[in-house]
């Protein structure tokens, strides 16, 4: 079984899908809307990109289909819901750590928080 760090760096699509599932199971449309919210509308995925990524993430055991459904008034029986696996959590955490280290480097180089002279 690969280790989480073997999967890094993640593609933007995979990272955003993992983040979207970080707070609970969602179906495809829910994942897409959550990604838009997280990125303030700057990132949108088409149906092909979304389900192409979901297919590969299922094969890599980052996510799995789940029978867990939200409260019945929000549930849609036609939909397939997905959730993070334990391995998916590990990969997401590893990628978040990698990106946070990059942010620290950018801060040390005064590239964040209003660099002087710009």
């Amino acid at each position: 079984m690969p280790k989480p760090k073997d999967m890094l760096p993640l593609t933007p699509a995979v990272l955003h899908i993992l983040l979207a599932l970080g707070d609970g199971p969602k179906h495809g449309y829910g994942i897409m809307k959550e990604v838009e919210t997280i990125t303030e509308g700057r990132t949108t995925m088409g149906p092909g990109t979304l389900y192409g990524s979901i297919k590969r993430m299922l094969a890599s055991r980052l996510i799995t289909e789940t029978d867990e459904r939200p409260a019945s008034e929000r549930d849609d029986e036609r939909r397939r819901y997905y959730r993070l696996t334990g391995f998916g959590w590990g990969v997401l955490a590893a990628e978040a750590q990698r990106l946070s280290r990059l942010v620290l480097v950018a801060q040390r180089k005064r590239l964040l928080g209003g660099a002087e002279g710009i």
């Binding site: 079984m1 449309y29 149906p47 192409g52």
Partner: protein
């Protein structure tokens, strides 16, 4: 707010999605085809609510581009697979080894024998391809160096361990000398095979001596590599 009625929006969405299948025809044959169509309908409803007809057209163009890119990407991914890796992917290790045995039989200077003992479960894709590729390397080495008359591939699954061995009756070699050459940057691919097998948390050993043939043994624990869906 748009004046388009929901029923007309959905009807237009379905027609538009069918048009998009011209650039990505495989979508309707794929497991996710209906899910993509349903998602496109949702997006059309959103687009109409937010920006009317123009937003709908913009969505259609963006989805056209997205599906074209996905179609090309999947086509390149499938082209990168050989027929053998397709069998491995869809049917698993044993059918792939059987197909490989069939390909080798009658086309090589040596005879290939394949035996399978015990029930071999489907493993996760990474483990199956690691084992299959290691067997392929061992056969390739036998072909290139051994001058063998026979090669035996034996697969045995017992006590939660999968053991695969590749043995030939060829000329054999001095294992220690070759291992040293590998470490110095030359010689056959023992180190590559070992790396492959480690992906599946397995171990590999090579036994050989000049004039006594060569045996490559791969041992992989089954439990961590099982295909069973994660809980």
């Amino acid at each position: 707010m748009s004046s388009l009625r929901p029923a007309r929006v959905l009807s237009a969405a379905d027609k538009a999605y069918r048009a998009l299948l011209f650039v990505y025809p495989a979508a309707h044959r794929r497991e996710y085809g209906p899910l993509m169509a349903e998602l496109f309908r949702d997006l059309c409803r959103d687009a109409v609510q937010q920006g009317g007809t123009f937003a709908l057209f913009d969505l259609w163009l963006r989805t056209l581009l997205d599906m074209a890119v996905t179609a090309v990407s999947e086509h390149l991914y499938e082209k990168g697979r050989t027929p053998m890796t397709n069998v491995l992917h869809t049917d698993g290790l044993i059918p792939a080894l059987e197909a490989y045995w069939g390909e080798l039989t009658g086309t090589e200077d040596f005879e290939v024998h394949l035996t399978v003992d015990g029930q071999v479960p489907r493993l996760i894709e990474g483990a199956e391809s690691a084992i299959f590729n290691a067997v392929g390397e061992a056969i390739g080495n036998a072909k290139a160096h051994a001058q063998a008359n026979n090669v035996w591939i034996a697969v045995r699954c017992q006590h939660d361990t999968l053991e695969v061995s590749v043995r030939d009756d060829g000329q054999g070699f001095n294992v220690d000398r070759v291992r040293t050459e590998c470490e110095l940057g030359g010689g056959p691919d023992e180190i590559d095979m070992s790396d492959r097998v480690q992906v599946a948390q397995g171990t590999m050993s090579v036994q050989s001596a000049v004039g006594e043939g060569t045996t490559v043994r791969i041992s992989v624990p089954v439990a961590p590599n099982l295909e069973a869906k994660a809980g």
